[in-house]
């Protein structure tokens, strides 16, 4: 390197420790801004949404197809065996089905009679695919490939299969961030379906490994709640629509105050193998 070039470069560089100081201050300002206000999220989300989301979509698709192909080969033999078995079962089931059809007809008529509606299926839902997961090992949030362009808004409920997955915490034009109910320090207000007792469901990193989540603050004075009871989102929750299935009670312990109970519940959603989710576009209207 010639001395001329070197001198020129030195003239323009700020010492590293000042750069570090400036960037540290920037970080702190960003933290304060994002903690107290909402100014940052719109521009940042738009930029990152258009820059990175398409690539994440592509890579996830590649990964899914790769894994899918490997599994396909592995399971082909099993599937053939199963096919034989299933054919036999099908005959039995189709017979059953006709009986059920009749029952269903009766049920709808009865529902009309009681003016009850299956609210669950009435919600306006949109399907979405998970395209990225939290990079660290501490939390379990993820990013889906639908955003405000598809009518998703912050606090939309996310379900998969028949159970609650979580809710949207942040939304960009073509993607949305979802926090799951099993993520550490996330609280969900739930209730026991059979008795209507309220409880708080709390995600915990420690229990995630066992595939269960904690609940607490259950007031059940008559000892009616037992193992296997259904837990759904409560009607007093301000973010979750009521009556979405969360899981089943696994253990019940009486707290040391002798008034409330706590324990663990088994979520209905298989969080480890989650690929596609449904987002309910209707928001809970809280006055």
């Amino acid at each position: 390197m010639s001395p001329l070039v070197k001198r020129k470069r030195e003239k323009y560089t700020l010492p590293n420790r000042y750069v570090l100081l400036i960037l540290t201050i920037v970080c702190v300002i960003l933290m304060i801004l994002s903690f107290s206000t909402n100014i940052l999220s719109v521009p940042l989300n738009t930029i990152s949404g258009y820059a990175l989301v398409p690539m994440q979509k592509g890579l996830t698709a590649v990964g899914t197809s790769l894994i899918g192909r490997a599994e396909k080969l592995k399971t082909l033999e099993q599937v053939m065996e199963e096919n034989e078995k299933l054919k036999k079962e099908l005959d039995a089931i189709s017979e059953e089905n006709t009986i059920l059809q009749q029952d269903k007809y009766e049920l709808t008529k009865l529902r009309e009679l009681y003016e009850l509606d299956d609210e669950y299926s009435e919600y306006d839902k949109v399907g979405a695919r998970i395209i990225a997961r939290d990079t660290g090992n501490w939390y379990s949030g993820f990013v889906i490939d639908k955003g405000s362009n598809d009518g998703i808004a912050v606090n939309c409920n996310v379900i998969a299969g028949s159970g609650l997955v979580g809710r949207v915490t942040d939304v960009g034009p073509n993607y949305a961030k979802v926090i799951s109910i099993i993520s550490d320090n996330t609280n969900t207000s739930g209730m026991i379906l059979s008795t209507g007792d309220n409880l708080i469901v709390t995600g915990s990193l420690k229990l995630m490994e066992r595939g269960v989540i904690e609940y607490s603050q259950l007031s059940d004075e008559d000892d009616q709640v037992g193992i296997g009871d259904k837990v759904v989102t409560s009607n007093i929750s301000d973010k979750y629509l009521k009556g979405i299935l969360i899981g089943y009670i696994e253990t019940v312990n009486t707290d040391s105050n002798n008034m409330t109970k706590s324990g663990t519940l088994m979520p209905v959603v298989d969080f480890k193998h989650l690929d596609d989710v449904l987002v309910i576009k209707d928001l809970k209207n809280v006055p």
């Binding site: 960037l23 940042l44 990175l52 990964g63 480890k272």
Partner: protein
């Protein structure tokens, strides 16, 4: 050239970590690819590159997965800076010390994560997190770093050689 390849390495690592790597977890734990890249950039290119790349990498993580923007940016930035300081003690051909430094960075990084996000909210079960989260992550990250560091070193060495040759021809 250094700038372009650093940016490419970061982009690829971030995308891999957030998409494909979640399918190659061991016991639900995935390696910290971004940390390897940031630490390596610091070790090979110095403090300036290390901290800027750390800042940007952390910012991406914050935007996509964090609730408060700036925490990961701060953490990764210091990882890059500290490794940049350590560049002075490295010998050119030595692979053991850089690996030790990368692993050390990951250990420190994990502890800061625990400190900021769990200890401060009153969660004192440190042994649990150490054995179930931090230790597996460090092991997995080490294994990946054994492959990743030489690859990055090779690329950056090639770039430096080419630039030196180009300068010689000009002179």
């Amino acid at each position: 050239m250094n700038f372009v390849s650093t940016a490419l390495f970061m982009l690829i690592s971030f995308l891999l970590q957030s998409t494909l790597l979640s399918r190659f977890t061991i016991g639900g734990i995935r390696p910290n690819l971004l940390l390897i890249v940031v630490a390596t950039v610091g070790l090979l290119l110095g403090r300036r590159y290390g901290m800027v790349s750390g800042f940007i990498a952390g910012l991406f993580v914050d935007i996509f997965f964090g609730s408060i923007i700036g925490i990961y940016a701060l953490l990764y930035m210091y990882v890059g800076y500290v490794n940049g300081i350590c560049r002075k003690v490295l010998f050119p051909g030595d692979f053991k010390l850089p690996l030790v430094l990368i692993v050390g960075s990951d250990v420190l990084y994990c502890h800061f994560c625990y400190l900021i996000m769990f200890l401060l909210k009153g969660d004192f079960s440190y042994p649990y997190y150490l054995s179930k989260i931090i230790f597996p992550e460090v092991i997995y990250t080490t294994l990946v770093a054994i492959l990743y560091f030489p690859l990055m070193k090779f690329v950056f060495d090639r770039i430096r050689k080419r630039e030196e040759e180009a300068e010689e021809t000009i002179a």
